[in-house]
């Protein structure tokens, strides 16, 4: 089954972002999204460590004071600003960030997210994930649809420790775009060359499949 690369998942996430919104990108795959937005859309990226308006990972000389929340050097857009962590999380927790894009370990049929603690490793790091999951106005989870062992990351109930309950709005994976609502999961798009049946089979929770599911535009 042909699955999207990490870069193509990031591209598909970028297509989900509306112009002139404020977007926070989590560490890992979500960080790649900054490279795929159209600058004309004037999307402002927010970083938990206190930046509004960074423009993706930088090629410039490394400045230790100019990094995103994952520690990567970044460039700025004109009109960027810096602020302390208290202001940054007032922004996040207070509902001022339009969209957060986070990685995921598991997402449940109710939109519960688990993305910070790996039981097999006996640990993890929470960072700003819990605040983003609770505070962002829209939460997109970008992740591989199944684990390396083939188990679905989309499950009836998370068995990993939660990041937050009922917080996910959209799941974008290497196989599909899935909307999450109070009624459960609905398939919205398929990856090129992947059938709805294959997606249902790879999904560990009930998945509504409307007629005429379009293929992703990439």
């Amino acid at each position: 089954m042909p699955a999207l690369t990490r870069e193509l998942i990031a591209l598909r996430v970028a297509r989900e972002l509306e112009p002139r919104t404020v977007v926070n990108l989590g560490i890992g795959l979500p960080t790649l999204v900054a490279g795929f937005v159209d600058p004309a859309d004037q999307i402002l990226f927010q970083a938990e460590n206190g930046i509004l308006g960074y423009a993706g990972v930088s090629d410039a000389d490394y400045d230790p004071d100019l990094i995103n929340a994952g520690g990567q050097p970044v460039d700025l857009v004109p009109g960027a600003s810096f602020f302390d962590t208290a202001t940054s999380f007032a922004m996040i927790r207070g509902g001022h960030v339009d969209v957060a894009v986070l990685g995921g370990l598991q997402v449940s049929a109710h939109g519960d997210l688990a993305n910070w603690f790996v039981p097999e490793r006996g640990g993890g790091s929470v960072g700003g994930a819990m605040d983003l999951a609770v505070g962002a106005r829209k939460l997109i989870v970008a992740m591989a649809h199944v684990t390396r062992d083939g188990a679905s990351r989309i499950v009836a109930e998370c068995d990993y420790p939660l990041t937050a309950a009922r917080c996910v709005d959209v799941i974008i994976t290497d196989l599909a775009v899935i909307d999450v609502s109070a009624n459960g999961l609905t398939l919205r798009e398929t990856a090129p060359g992947v059938s709805a049946d294959e997606i249902v089979a790879a999904t560990g929770a009930p998945l509504a499949v409307p007629a005429d599911i379009p293929e992703m535009r990439l």
Binding site: Q42, A80, F83
Partner: protein, 251 residues
Amino acid sequence: MPRRLCRQRCAVPVIARYDPRMVAQVFATPDAAVAGIGDGATVMVGGFISAGSPSNLIRALVRSGPTGLTAVANNIGLGDLLDELCEHRQLARVIATFAIRASGGRTSRFEQQYRAGEVELELVPQGTLIERIRAGGAGLGGVLTRTGLGTIVAEDKRIIEIDGEQWLLERPLRADVALLKASRADTLGNLEYRLAGINFNPVMATAADLVIAEVEEIVEAGEITPERVGTPAVFVDRIVACPPIPVRWEG
């Protein structure tokens, strides 16, 4: 999935359609900038006496004429432009720290209407007022403070005991609209403050559904030093440049 958190709306939604935009809209006049503030709105007003006070926006609100307003501000009194909202009895309720002069003498229109029972007043200690607004803007459920314990400020409020110590629970405050004053804005809506003009403005910017700022000058994005941005653009919806109205307070 409907967000459980997100912006907690006020009971009376007054902006018919609020289009959330990262890029602030620039308005030509204060009157245009305050358009759409309807009867019954809760309006936060930045500033501390004469410093950082959005005098042009207050006067525009007087001219536009909505009534039944709740004003949230540090002060309302003699020589304070907010008092002009009392001329046409636009205020139903005021939440403030300074409102009634402790000494006698001339009284403000607000004080006259308050004594006549025409307007309600909730006096809030200054440090509690700013924390309540901050909680409203930062998605926090309340404030736990010692300020006001054992005084009439604590009447009818919940006391939370933690490890044998008592804390007064004060509730978050939000508004439909915030009227702010800054020194400069850029075209994205970033605000830069000057001297003691900061005061309540940056925190009020976080706690209203519609944030309108008057500034002395609007510059291109990138012209304000990133570390000098006092209110990041995400919090600001409308900006208008106009000469400040200097005001001398009479307490």
